[in-house]
């Protein structure tokens, strides 16, 4: 048993879990073409969940702040992005790949910019007065989430809002019997690119070193001469911007969005953060991929269990590893 554990550890340990889930699903599903479609959908969903969850995980890890208002950034990111796409409808409909891409880039940049500014405001006005007080954090951030949802309702209305998609991301690639939706492949690729950037910042820069150290022991980082509270503003803004980008990408994925989309997604986002291990970007990615894949596989194999599958996954992982798959603190 010890030898097996050591061998698995050397081969990648818990990092192999998504692969293991995919292989088991391959056997259970039987049809390779359906399996590929579901796997791509699961990976795309996982990467979008990763974007939404990574900031939340870092914020909790670094400052012990429970932010239930994180969903507001997801919802606002989706609506801001959708509005920009609607405003640039001419570019979106143009028979030009470049104009299509520009419209999409502008919508994502608008969401990111909104996330940065809203994140700064949220941290300064709402979070800062309730540091170190979890009960008040929960109450005030849930309150902020409700206010944000009502604000969206006031500006965009309660009926589902249609989201434009650039022509070059419409349709599917057909390879033999396999159909791969282009938008899903794009969402996965963009998510991977963001993860790589985030990974490099955290592991190759001094700011990243400070964030990783701060997640482990904030007091000690301060005793070494660094203002973690100032670092936290930056991390909070980054996390909010990533959530807004995740919301924008999710909007393109769903094509119809509602003011409570962020709140609906938050349960899954919290599951991702808990499964991955608080404060860990690699853990968050792992958790997001597992949740994305499980949701799609179970939705196909046993639709009635689809909603419960993520909860069951979380319970199973916490029974096995109470601190999550890749906790930031050892």
């Amino acid at each position: 048993m010890t030898a097996l554990t050591t061998t698995l550890g050397r081969a990648g340990g818990v990092n192999l879990l998504p692969l293991a889930v995919a292989l088991i699903a391959f056997v259970l599903i039987g049809a390779p073409s359906s399996w590929v479609t579901l796997t791509v959908a699961g990976l795309a969903m996982g990467m979008m969940l990763f974007l939404m969850a990574s900031g939340l995980s870092l914020v909790f890890g670094l400052m012990d702040v429970l932010n239930f208002g994180h969903s507001a950034f997801v919802s606002f990111g989706a609506f801001v992005s959708a509005s920009v796409l609607a405003g640039l409808g001419g570019w979106l409909a143009a028979d030009s790949w470049a104009l299509n891409a520009l419209a999409l880039a502008a919508s994502y940049l608008a969401a990111i910019l909104f996330g940065l500014i809203a994140g700064w405001f949220f941290e300064t006005v709402i979070i800062r007065p309730v540091y170190r007080d979890h009960l008040r954090q929960i109450l005030i951030t849930i309150g902020a989430m409700i206010v944000a949802e009502q604000t969206i309702l006031a500006f965009w209305g309660g009926t589902p809002y249609s989201v434009g998609r650039p022509a070059f991301l419409e349709g599917s690639w057909i390879i033999g019997d396999v159909s791969i939706e282009i938008y899903r492949a794009f969402a996965f690729a963009l998510g991977v690119a963001v993860f790589v950037m985030l990974y490099l910042v955290l592991n190759r820069t001094r700011i990243g070193l400070l964030i990783r150290a701060g997640v482990e022991d904030r007091e000690m980082v301060e005793a070494l001469g660094f203002r973690v509270d100032r670092l936290f503003i930056g991390v909070f803004m980054l996390g909010s911007a990533l959530a807004a980008l995740g919301g924008a990408m999710w909007a393109g994925y769903e094509t119809l969005i509602t003011p409570h989309m962020g709140a609906d997604l938050m349960i899954v986002v919290f599951i991702v953060v808990i499964i991955g291990g608080l404060g860990s970007i690699e853990g968050t990615l792992l958790g997001a991929l597992l949740v994305g894949l499980m949701s799609n596989y179970v939705g196909f194999l046993a639709p009635k269990l689809a909603l419960a599958s993520n909860m069951i996954l979380m319970v199973a992982i916490l029974l096995w590893r109470p601190n999550g798959l890749r906790p930031a603190v050892k």
Partner: protein, 234 residues
């Protein structure tokens, strides 16, 4: 003028008053030892000096400047390092990352690093190893090395020998003697033999108050006083 001056310090943690009236002066150079029983308030005193808990009332002055209200990071930047009781090691960071984090500009001073590796050869051997995998003694060495990687005027060290093997405690004593040639050390310690071997001046904290202050030689010679203040005989 003393290097560090603590005057009438009172610190509450939540609703509990831990320090009632702590005053002492740390002269420049050598090792100043704070002794006391468990729960007397020694760790709280160090944490109050570095700003992790705020005394009220009371004052802490460093080189004549009042640092009581400063943020912990700003106090550290005055040249005060802190080695906590739990060592404060960042477990997922490598040994070198732990050290480089404590440098001002993110680069090692080659001479300082060489001195650290001379004092603690294990740190040279395990430079790329994640700190959580080090032994207890190695973690303590890393914690102290981190306080030395930049020039400091004062190092606050909280019970460095706790749980360490006697051979490592001896090595630690040698390291502290060398560090004390250039940097003042304020040492909290329960191991009286270790404290006596290093300390020049000392104070005893009892129930949140300074019960005695003076030279270590005088205190070491007065077993009756030791019995009364520390409940131990040496």
């Amino acid at each position: 003028m003393s290097l560090l001056s603590v005057r009438n310090m009172k610190t509450d943690i939540g609703q509990y008053a831990v320090l009632h009236d702590v005053s002492f002066e740390v002269p420049e150079g050598g090792v100043f030892v704070l002794l006391g029983r468990n729960g007397a308030g020694k760790t709280t005193t160090l944490r109050s000096i570095i700003g992790l808990w705020k005394p009220s009332p009371g004052s802490v002055t460093f080189r004549g400047e009042d640092i009581t209200a400063l943020h912990t990071a700003d106090i550290a930047r005055k040249g005060i390092a802190y080695v906590p009781e739990n060592m404060g090691i960042f477990g997922t960071l490598t040994v070198d990352e732990n050290l480089i984090l404590a440098t001002r500009n993110g680069r090692f001073d080659a001479a300082r690093l060489a001195r650290i590796h001379d004092l603690f050869p294990a740190l040279a051997q395990f430079r790329d190893k994640q700190a959580w995998s080090l032994s207890g003694g190695q973690k303590q060495m890393l914690s102290i090395a981190r306080a030395m990687i930049e020039p400091r005027e004062l190092i606050l060290i909280d019970e460095p020998t706790k749980g360490l093997a006697p051979s490592i405690v001896d090595a630690m004593a040698d390291a502290f003697r060398e560090i004390a040639q250039t940097t003042t050390i304020l040492l909290v310690e329960q191991n009286f033999a270790f404290a006596r071997a290093l300390g020049r001046d000392m104070a005893v904290i009892d129930d949140g108050r300074v019960a005695h202050a003076g030279s270590m030689d005088d205190f070491a010679a007065d077993t009756a006083l030791q019995d009364r203040l520390l409940s131990l005989s040496v």
